[in-house]
């Protein structure tokens, strides 16, 4: 098998190597921050797969993140399911929910699609509150101490160690990054971009664009679910705040800032924006307004994002 876009592949490997090295030079605090960034970047990569590559703007991706978070967390909390299996359940939770929502939502396009996804996500959020005797509502649930460690293939893994958490997050980030490299840079990615660029033409070239969009939506939801499950299990906490509209907006913002439709854009955008949001929320409680203004500014003057702009000016293979 030959690897398409070899330069991008090499760049991905370099980025992964740099991230791995970071744990040896950064302080514990920064390693923790980077762990969070990596998990949220996975979420953003899942979002970018749909929004950036396929051109479908969803305003409800918090529900898929939350689906993974709750599916994995509740399976562990109530079912006593081991962490690795709970994690897989989380991925399935995101993927299955996305498939079902996609069947309905993908009958609409553009603005109606945004509204429909937003509505489903609000329903999901309200459900987590309504069933708060199960989900813990906005108080959330803290996973039992027994779930702070597990053994995989005879290897004991301690989730209270920042280094362990970082390396787990990095491993899964790498798996998703390489997986998405394969998806986006090959024949399937061509179809996603074709749907984004001209859906009618793609239909008239013999492709069932509904199925292509449903596939993109499902992959996107499964990856978002993966990120949610990882977040919940690694930090041992699940709460309804992850299902809020704010999460959907943040993942959109991360993707827009980094560069929609670029493989590494979500990492860049998540890195830049979480740093910024952390600073801002320290300074002002009205940081959401700042985020909103930023969204508008980017949309108007900077629609390709950081890596998208670099790609268009200098580095065409950065896609």
């Amino acid at each position: 098998m030959t690897i398409p876009n070899k330069k991008l592949f090499a760049l991905c490997l370099v980025v992964l190597a740099l991230l791995f090295m970071a744990q040896f030079v950064l302080s514990n605090y920064l390693v923790l921050a980077l762990t969070r960034i990596l998990i949220l970047a996975i979420f953003a990569m899942g979002y970018n797969m749909l929004m950036g590559y396929t051109g479908l703007l969803s305003l409800g991706h918090a529900m898929f993140f939350a689906a993974g978070l709750y599916a994995a967390g509740l399976a562990n909390y109530y079912g006593g399911v081991s962490l690795p299996i709970a994690f897989v359940i989380g991925i399935l939770g995101g993927g299955v929910l996305a498939f079902v929502i996609g069947l309905l939502a993908l009958r609409t396009q553009t603005v109606s699609f945004m509204i429909v996804t937003l509505m489903f996500a609000q329903v999901a959020y309200l459900l987590t509150l309504y069933f708060s005797n199960v989900t813990g509502g906005d108080q959330g649930l803290t996973l039992p101490t027994a779930s702070r460690s597990f053994s995989l293939f005879g290897l004991a893994v301690d989730l209270t160690s920042p280094m362990v958490r970082f390396n787990i997050a990095l491993t899964l980030f790498a798996v998703v990054l390489i997986g998405l490299f394969a998806v986006t840079q090959g024949p399937l990615g061509r179809l996603f971009v074709a749907v984004r660029e001209n859906i009618n033409r793609t239909e008239m070239l013999g492709f069932d664009t509904y199925r292509i969009r449903l596939l993109a939506f499902t992959i996107s939801g499964a990856i978002s679910g993966l990120a949610g499950a990882l977040y919940g299990l690694m930090f041992g906490f699940i709460g309804s705040s992850f299902a809020e509209f704010r999460s959907s907006i943040e993942v959109l913002l991360f993707t827009l800032v980094g560069g929609p439709g670029t493989l590494l854009g979500p990492l860049v955008g998540t890195g830049v924006m979480t740093m910024l949001i952390d600073r801002l929320s320290g300074m002002t409680s009205a940081y959401l307004i700042v985020v909103g203004v930023l969204l508008i500014v980017i949309n108007l003057w900077f629609p390709k994002g950081i890596l998208g702009t670099i790609r268009d000016r200098w580095v065409p293979w950065l896609k």
């Binding site: 090959g186 070239l205 199925r211 596939l215």
Partner: protein
Amino acid sequence: MAEVILLKTRGLKRHFGGLKAVDGVDFTLRKGEIRAIIGPNGAGKSTFVSLLSGRIPPSEGTVEFDGQDVTALPAHRRVRLGIAYTFQITNIYPSMSVLENVAVAAQSRLRPSFLRKGASETEIEDAARAALAAVGLDDRLDEVAGVLAYGHQRLLEVAMGLALEPKLLILDEPTQGLSDSEIANFIEVVKRVAQSSTVLLIEHNMHVVMSLADRITVLERGRLLAEGSPAEIMNDKAVQAAYLGEPA
């Protein structure tokens, strides 16, 4: 030997509000022929072939292709059965490269299911290159399609049709905006394609029609006005009055 019918319509109609764009057309196309459809502006030519391709649904009537009733099939399924449609108003992927544009078409033929394995990337790109070479665009593979000159975009549109290797290639005014030398090349391309597939060509340029068509169908106000060999059509009084009589 009996002639093989590739495509047949019965009572095909398409109304837009009160406007009868296509108004009860019975039409038959034989395998292997090059058929030209001519007619004045607004006669319903584009609407008629859109009904064949499934791009728009008919108000009434049926379409039969290769022995199968395809009236209820969506456009993408008809493409897979072998009906390729090139748009009158250029419809490409403007921000993608010339090669990528045609690669989408080549992929449709060589790797029809996007979940199952099919042809490799190399094979897909080779097929796309071959289709581009056929229309003479092989020296522009990496150019962004949207910035090509209009005539080249028309040829790109044709190359996308060729890459599908269809049983029936529908071309809607493909030579509009082409230079004389490009038209000469285009005529050669269609002659070559016609050796393996059937061609349905909407064309205003009578030189192109006369060089290519085995038979000509004349549409006027959504109805079939006449049909016959080029010589018959040229001598048809009704056609002369309706169409050829018009100043070019």
